[in-house]
C-alpha cells in the first residue's frame, strides 16, 4: 500500500470493469457444470471471496508487523481495515458457501468438508478482534494490542487449516475438486478473472474505508481547531466515529 497507487476513482473503475467482465464470463462463457448444473456458478463468487478474505488477514498481519516495528499508526489503521474487510468478506463467503452446500449436497452445513470448518474457526477468531480492540481505552495501547492479535492470528491460520485437514480421515473423498485440479480451461479463465475482480473489489473497499477514516480525522481536527478552547472530541476509537451533529 505504500507504493504509489492509482487514484481511488481509477481503482473503482477498474473494479467495475473487471468484476462486470467476470460476471459476463460467468453467465455467458463458462459452461454449466455437468454434475451440478447452473448452481455451480456460485463457485465463481464464493471461492474468490473466501480467498480474498484470507489474503486480507495475511495483509493485516504484515501491516501489524510493520506497525510494531515502526510505531507508525498508519499501519495499524491499514491492519484494522484489512481485518474489517476480511471479516465482511468472510461473512459473505460463509453465506455463499452455505447456499452452495445446500444446492450441491442438500445440507446447509457439512462438517466433513475441512475447508469449510477451517474457515469457520478462522472467522470466529477474527470476529473477536472487535471486542478486543474496543475493550482497550488507551489509543496507542489499543493499536499495539490489536497488532499483537493480528500477528498471533496470522500464525494461527495455517496451523488451523493443517489441524482440521489432518482430522479428516484420509479415506474421505474430496467432495469437489479444488480450483487447480481438473478445471477445464474455460472455467479456469472465468475463475481467474472473477478472482482478479474480487481482489480489486477488496482493495477498492479498503481504500474507500481508509480515505473515509482519513477524511473524518481531518474534519475532526479542523473542527477542533475551529472551536479552539471548546470541548475537543476525546473519542479514543479509531473505528467509525459519527461526526458530531450541528457542531459548527
Amino acid at each position: 500500500m505504500s507504493l504509489k497507487m492509482p487514484s481511488l476513482r481509477a481503482t473503482a473503475a477498474a473494479t467495475a470493469v473487471v468484476l462486470g467482465g467476470a460476471f459476463a464470463l460467468v453467465f455467458f462463457y463458462a459452461p454449466n457444470d455437468a454434475d451440478q448444473g447452473f448452481v455451480q456458478k456460485i463457485f465463481y463468487v464464493h471461492v474468490p471471496i473466501a480467498i480474498c478474505a484470507l489474503l486480507g488477514f495475511v495483509v493485516a498481519a504484515i501491516h501489524a508487523i510493520r506497525h510494531l516495528r515502526t510505531g507508525d499508526a498508519v499501519h495499524d489503521v491499514r491492519s484494522y481495515v484489512a481485518i474489517h474487510m476480511g471479516v465482511i468478506f468472510g461473512t459473505a463467503a460463509l453465506l455463499t458457501g452455505a447456499i452452495w452446500a445446500r444446492a450441491a449436497w442438500g445440507k446447509w452445513w457439512v462438517w466433513e468438508e475441512p475447508t469449510l470448518v477451517s474457515f469457520l474457526i478462522v472467522y470466529l477468531l477474527y470476529a473477536t478482534y472487535y471486542p478486543l480492540r474496543y475493550a482497550i481505552a488507551d489509543r496507542e495501547r489499543q493499536a499495539r494490542y490489536a497488532s499483537v492479535f493480528a500477528i498471533t492470528a496470522g500464525a494461527f491460520v495455517p496451523l488451523n487449516f493443517m489441524a482440521v485437514r489432518l482430522a479428516e480421515s484420509l479415506v474421505h473423498p474430496r467432495v469437489f475438486a479444488t480450483a487447480e485440479g481438473g478445471l477445464p480451461g474455460s472455467m479456469m479463465l472465468t475463475f481467474l478473472v472473477a478472482l482478479a475482480g474480487m481482489a480489486l473489489l477488496f482493495v477498492t473497499l479498503m481504500r474507500f474505508e481508509l480515505a473515509a477514516k482519513a477524511t473524518r480525522g481531518q474534519i475532526s481536527r479542523l473542527r477542533r481547531a475551529l472551536d479552539a478552547g471548546g470541548a475537543a472530541g476525546t473519542s479514543s476509537r479509531i473505528a467509525p466515529v459519527a461526526p458530531a451533529e450541528g457542531g459548527r
Binding site: 473477536t128 478486543l132 481505552a137 494490542y145 497488532s147 499483537v148 498471533t152 493443517m162
Partner: protein
C-alpha cells in the same frame, strides 16, 4: 534467566500461600466429571467420548487459572514494576507460561486419576496420555499467558480472555483429541495416529511460544 526464576518462584510461592487457583481448578474438574456422568448418562467412557470429556474439562479448568494469571500484576501494580525493572519483559511471559504449566500439571495429577476411576476400565493408556497432556499444557500456557495479558489490560477483563482464547485453542484441542482418542479406545490403547497428533501438538506449542516471546515486549510497552 535470573528474572525468570525470581518471577516463577514468586508466582508459585503466592499460589502456595493463598491457594487461589489450584483447589478451585481441581474442584471444578471433579464436579464437571459428575455433570458429564449425568449429562451423557454414561457410567463408563471410551474412545472419542472419553477424550472429549477429559479434554473439555481440562480446557475449562485451565481457563479459570488463565483468567486469574495476571490479577495480581494488574491490581498490585506488578506490570509497572516490570516496566521499571531493568529486565527483559519476555522473561515475565516465560515465567507465567512456566507457572501455568505447573498449575495444569497439578490439576491433571488430580483430574486424571479421578477420571480413570470414574469412567475407565483400565489404566494402561495413562502414561502416554500424560505425555499428550503435557504437550497440551504447553500450548494452553503459551497462548493463555499471551491472551491473558491482553485481557488483564483491557476494560472487558474476564470476558475478553476466554472469548479470544477459545477459537485460538481449537487446533490444539483437535490435535489433543486426535491423540487421546486411540489411547482411550475400548479394549486397551492403540497407537496408530498418536505420533502424527503429538507432532501437531508440538508444532502448535513451538509456534505460539515463539510468537508470544516475540510480541510480548509490545504488550508491556507504555
Amino acid at each position: 534467566m535470573n528474572a525468570f526464576k525470581v518471577m516463577l518462584a514468586k508466582d508459585l510461592r503466592v499460589e502456595l500461600r493463598t491457594l487461589q487457583s489450584l483447589p478451585a481448578m481441581a474442584l471444578f474438574a471433579v464436579t464437571t466429571f459428575v455433570i458429564f456422568r449425568f449429562g451423557l448418562d454414561r457410567t463408563s467412557l471410551e474412545g472419542s467420548l472419553a477424550a472429549g470429556v477429559l479434554l473439555v474439562t481440562v480446557l475449562f479448568a485451565a481457563l479459570l487459572a488463565i483468567n486469574r494469571l495476571f490479577v495480581a500484576e494488574r491490581d498490585e501494580g506488578g506490570f509497572d514494576a516490570i516496566r521499571l525493572a531493568p529486565v527483559d519483559p519476555s522473561s515475565l511471559y516465560l515465567a507465567k507460561v512456566a507457572a501455568l504449566v505447573v498449575y495444569l500439571l497439578a490439576l491433571e495429577a488430580v483430574a486424571l486419576p479421578v477420571f480413570a476411576v470414574f469412567f475407565l476400565d483400565g489404566a494402561e493408556g495413562m502414561a502416554p496420555l500424560a505425555g499428550i497432556l503435557l504437550l497440551l499444557d504447553l500450548g494452553l500456557a503459551a497462548t493463555g499467558a499471551l491472551v491473558s495479558t491482553i485481557g488483564a489490560n483491557s476494560r472487558a477483563r474476564d470476558l475478553l480472555t476466554p472469548l479470544v482464547l477459545l477459537p485460538l485453542l481449537v487446533p490444539l484441542m483437535i490435535a489433543a483429541a486426535g491423540a487421546a482418542e486411540p489411547l482411550l479406545a475400548a479394549g486397551g490403547p492403540a497407537y496408530d495416529e498418536v505420533g502424527k497428533w503429538a507432532g501437531t501438538l508440538a508444532l502448535y506449542d513451538l509456534t505460539f511460544l515463539l510468537v508470544g516471546y516475540a510480541v510480548y515486549d509490545f504488550l508491556l510497552e507504555d
